[in-house]
Amino acid sequence: MALILRGVTHRFGETKIFEDLDLQVEEGCFCCIVGPSGCGKSTLLRIIAGLYRPVKGEVLLDNKPPSLDKGEIGFVFQEDALFPWFTVEENIKFGLRARKVDKSSWGQIIEHNLQKVGLADYRDYYPSQLSGGMKQRVAIARVLAYNPKLLLMDEPFASLDSLNRNMLQTELIDLWAREKKTILFVTHNIDEAVFLAERLIVMGSKPGRIKRVLDINLPRPRNRTDTEFCRNRRSILEIIES
């Protein structure tokens, strides 16, 4: 799903968050966003999702403004967004019901997606019985289950240990390669960005703006210890710190 932002300006009260922001993301692109804390990454994702309406400018998803009721978007939030009153299974069902997915296929979809994130045995657990990392996996499974075309992921792996993080990164890349979804992925972790992204958006703050857009042309599968990988990481760090 192609995404275009034109002249997007946003304020919270008097505070300017964005001024005249332009961005284009082609269909099927894996796009990472990095930037200092508070520069407006989460706000940008919410505007794209249609949760916030920008003060000025327009957002186009496949040439149409974003609309919430179509549920074309899968949003994985930075905060814990699982519904605590539903079990793991019921959390996934909520999305399927909202998307009006045919009920006869629910069982299989839930099984399949929980397996994808390695939590098939936790169907009947409440979120309060899961660790932070497990919750985030369920949040991802909940979104994947209704098969959105555009994935907005706000630091989804930030609370995971590095082993789990690396594993889920690989799985996400596999998923993306298989299903060619458009993905916008916010992260604080340069390593993660270089490992995942085809395109990297470096944001700056005050007001939030796009400092640089880079293509990362490393072949896949990528190797974190590769000299090319490290060279890319170093140059990106220089750009961010400049």
Binding site: L51, L68, I73, F75, F83, F94, S128, V143, Y146
Partner: protein, 276 residues
């Protein structure tokens, strides 16, 4: 040795301490009851006040439970039950109205503003102050006393439930609503599956308080009118004179029933909110 031996040792070290703390808690609870009864015994025994002794009262209380009161031809349970029936009817009615109204007022901005002024005017009026007007309003009804009592208990239970429901809705985490919205959930789905369960703990608090106030209101309403119920029983026992033990027995029954109701709601809450 090392790590694996350390953990159980620490656990074993803690268990007796918490257990003995529980023991002291229990002892303190018992002691507070003993203090009250001993004080009562002293006051009654020394004739400082015209009170029956605790043992004499207990005898009357048990007699009322088993044989009943000859003046009224009813056991204490039957008397309490007739009040309780009214409280249950009135409270259920008030919850059925206050919870949906609270959910709507909490989630629809203009409705909240529209009804806020009127509710803020009505809320400070004590439920008992409605009694005279209620008698006027229900004068031509079939059983005016019962209607008045239901009405007064209804008013008493209504506001805590309404306010706690509104409060509960305002506490619903906005991230949950946003998550539901991005999944394409309908307004109805958000209201019933996100707002309502999110507000449920607060709603239950309102129901517990509402029942408590309703139970107080029925006693007062029965003082004023009617020929039935626990309020009528202790008031008329006073009018007859010389029946202090019966009065205290009635008061004890009110206290016991009140605390049972409150525990029942808490029990129900634990069953209905398993995710906490």
């Amino acid at each position: 040795m090392g790590l694996f031996n350390y953990t159980p040792a620490k656990a074993a070290d803690q268990t007796p301490r918490t257990r003995s703390r529980k023991g002291t808690d229990y002892l303190l609870k018992l002691l507070s009851v003993v203090t009250v009864i001993a004080g009562w015994q002293a006051v009654a025994g020394l004739h400082l006040l015209e009170l029956p002794t605790p043992t004499a009262t207990l005898k009357v209380f048990i007699g009322l439970l088993i044989k009943g009161d000859p003046l009224y031809n009813m056991t204490l349970q039957e008397i309490v039950w007739s009040s309780l029936q009214i409280v249950i009817k009135a409270c259920l009615l008030s919850f059925v109205i206050a919870v949906p109204l609270g959910v709507l007022m909490g989630s629809v901005g203009w409705l909240r503003k529209y009804s806020d002024t009127v509710l803020e005017m009505l809320r400070p009026i004590p439920p008992l102050a409605w009694i005279p007007l209620a008698y006027v309003l229900f004068a031509n009804a079939g059983r005016p006393t019962e209607y008045v009592q239901i009405f007064v208990v209804f008013i008493g239970a209504f506001f805590p439930v309404l306010l706690d429901t509104i409060h509960g809705i305002s506490l619903v985490n906005s991230i949950h609503i946003e998550a539901a919205e991005t999944m394409g959930a309908s307004r109805r789905q958000i209201l019933l599956q996100i707002m309502l369960p999110g507000a449920l703990p607060s709603i239950f608090n309102g129901i517990r308080v509402g029942f408590g106030i309703g139970w107080m209101c029925i006693v007062a309403a029965e003082f004023v009118g009617g020929k039935m119920g626990i309020g009528y029983y202790i008031w008329s026992s006073y009018s007859v004179g010389g029946r202090t033990a019966e009065i205290i027995s009635g008061m004890a029954a009110i206290g016991i029933v009140g605390s049972i109701i409150s525990r029942l709601v808490v029990f129900l809450e634990k069953r209905l909110i398993p995710w906490r």
